[in-house]
């Protein structure tokens, strides 16, 4: 019967996503209630070493590696075929996929293929008193939280990165690695041809530890220098709310919010951001939030640990100055 947890280890040619290890940690925890094994499946090109051992150190009992030609690795339909193949072979109760853009595009194709349910962008997964898997996810631009059960098997969920803690690897852990083959018709798999990387991302905000975010209080594009300086001093990244992307001053890669990036840094400094629901949905889970705003009643205040009432054009330069002073004393 259906048992165990299968973790899809995302790799489309740029290495394993670190969020895969978070999924393995959760899978090991859930397995004690669900029974069965922790499996992982990954795809790799024939030319490079795979990270099968690493997947075992982080909790996999069995790793399925599908070898495919390098040029097909970024083709999602090849991953669909491999994941469907592995689900049919292993019959896991639960399939976990990282809720990256790639995962949120691949997961639903696999679910629809298997005619089963999929829950998007989960913040938690637990097993209830009946032994059922319950998936917890936000909806309505983050305004409500829903608990969802899947009536069919397997249960498929995409999980938001950085929600589950990174487990400690056990380098002595043993497991099985199986090499799998896929029947691939040609380079143009089912009508999709990957022509290559169009553009690199300027920044991966979802991975940033410190974010300095600026809103429409910014008077000119040149003033962004102010924030870049602070970001550099703190080893962080500059981000923004939607208006600055709409006027073309900042790239989409730096937009925090529902229609941008969802972030969870250790420190989030919101400058001149009032706190529209759209923006809050992208940053409300940050570890520590500092808001700098002239309006003490702005909604962002309720989501902040520290609200500094003042003009960021005064506060931020002073802050940069003080940090420089501190550093020069070292």
């Amino acid at each position: 019967m259906w048992s165990g947890v299968l973790v899809y280890a995302e790799n489309y040619g740029r290495g394993l996503k670190s969020s895969v290890f978070e999924l393995l940690g959760k899978a090991s925890e859930l397995r004690t209630r669900l029974g069965g094994l922790v499996y992982s499946i990954t795809l790799a090109s024939e030319e490079v070493d795979v990270h099968a051992e690493e997947l075992i150190y982080y909790g996999s009992d069995k790793v399925l590696v599908y070898r495919v030609p390098k040029e097909l690795l970024p083709n999602q339909l090849v991953h669909r075929d491999a994941l469907v193949d592995s689900v049919k072979a292993l019959k896991p109760k639960l399939v976990l996929i990282s809720a990256t853009p790639w995962g949120r595009s691949l997961g639903p194709r696999v679910a629809a293929h298997l005619k089963t349910g999929i829950t998007a962008d989960c913040l938690d997964i637990y097993v209830d008193e009946n032994g059922d898997v319950v998936q917890v996810r936000p909806a309505f631009t983050g305004n409500v939280i829903a608990h969802i059960k899947t009536l069919r098997t397997p249960v498929i969920a995409t999980v938001r990165p950085k929600v589950f803690p990174m487990p400690e690897p056990d380098h002595g852990r043993k497991g099985d690695v199986l090499c799998m083959k896929l029947n691939i018709p040609g380079n143009d798999v089912a009508g999709v041809r990957v022509l290559g990387v169009a553009r690199e991302k300027l920044v991966k905000l979802s991975e940033a530890e410190v974010i300095i975010s600026v809103g429409k209080g910014l008077r000119s594009r040149e003033d962004l220098r102010l924030f870049e300086e602070l970001a550099k001093a703190l080893g962080g990244q500059v981000a923004c709310s939607r208006p600055l992307v709409d006027v073309g001053w900042m790239e989409r890669d730096r937009q925090v919010g529902f229609s941008g990036n969802v972030v969870r840094p250790r420190i989030y400094i919101a400058c001149g951001i009032s706190g529209a629901p759209q923006h809050l949905a992208g940053m409300r889970d940050s570890e520590y939030v500092i808001a700098v705003n002239t309006d003490s009643s702005a909604p962002i205040g309720r989501y902040s640990d520290l609200l500094v009432v003042g003009d960021f054009y005064e506060v931020i330069p002073k802050l940069v100055e003080r940090i420089k002073e501190l550093k020069s004393k070292l």
């Binding site: 936000p138 059960k149 041809r193 022509l195 290559g196 709409d246 609200l307 500094v308 002073k318 802050l319």
Partner: protein, 268 residues
């Protein structure tokens, strides 16, 4: 080029009330409008039609009041609007929703390109587009930030994979789900504002209404609505703000406090 645009009529999430007791949206609390992300799909469809000719058909699955969103689409220039509405469609999760939309597209027949927004402002799954593509067994690209080129048999797009933007060539028929902002060729797409005359005309335009039985020859009725759904919402909560011990300070003290926080976290 026959283009289908999938539109989700959604409430304005800043105005809508959520009935936590019943676990459903209080639909009477806000009127339904075109999902923000789908506005870009409508616009890109119209831009492609300007280049290649053909027709644009808008399809929605919604309660009867979803018609309002479709009339908005007609005012913007869509040629034909179809509302899938039936009690049997109600309670659908993404699997049943995508199955129903795919059935309608199959019923329409002769389509080349299906466009939709990357996700909806209420459901926020981003799953329906790729699931429709799977039901129809056509290629798809999700989180598309640029439509580079489109011709009668293929479309080239930039898709956000997470680590980078990849260039994909899809054979038609295909489905693409569009991000915001999105570029068509070299132009940043901005949804047009319908002209008053077109809005008035759209009020009288015909919106075709299809029910479950109308799709019986292309789908299994058991696949619709709650019966066809593989998931159930068991509990719903309003999100209350995390209990942050908010401290409010001003002026010079603000800078001191920020420095304290940064220092305690060893960032300076």
């Amino acid at each position: 080029m026959n283009i289908v645009v999938l539109i989700k009529p959604t409430p304005d999430v800043t105005k809508v009330r959520f009935d936590v007791e019943r676990g459903v949206v209080d639909r009477s609390s806000a009127e339904l409008e075109i999902n923000q992300f789908d506005l870009y799909a409508v616009e890109v469809a119209l831009l492609i039609k300007e280049v290649l000719g053909g027709s644009v058909t808008a399809v929605s699955m919604a309660p009867p009041q979803g018609e309002r969103a479709l009339r908005d689409a007609v005012a913007r220039g869509v040629d034909k609007a179809i509302l899938l509405t039936d009690g049997r469609f109600a309670g659908a999760d993404t699997l049943a929703t995508s199955y129903t939309l795919a059935a309608a597209v199959r019923k329409l027949g002769g389509y080349d390109l299906i466009l939709c927004g990357e996700k909806s402002v209420d459901g926020d799954t981003a799953h329906v587009g790729p699931e429709v593509a799977e039901h129809l067994n056509v290629p798809h690209a999700a989180f598309v930030t640029r439509v580079v080129e489109v011709s009668s048999n293929k479309v080239v797009v930039e898709s956000d994979y997470g680590d980078a933007y990849y260039l994909l060539e899809l054979q038609l028929p295909a489905l693409i789900s569009l991000s915001r902002p999105v570029v068509f060729r070299d132009r940043v797409v901005e949804p047009r504002t319908p002209r008053l005359g077109d809005v008035l005309k759209a009020r009288r335009a015909r919106v075709e209404v299809w029910d479950a039985y109308y799709l019986a020859d292309v789908a299994d009725l058991e696949g619709f609505g709650l019966a066809g759904s593989a998931t159930r919402v068991v509990r719903v909560f309003n999100v209350f703000e995390k209990d942050r011990n908010s401290i409010t300070v001003s002026g010079e003290e603000g800078v001191d406090r920020i420095l304290e926080v940064l220092r305690s976290r060893r960032l300076v």
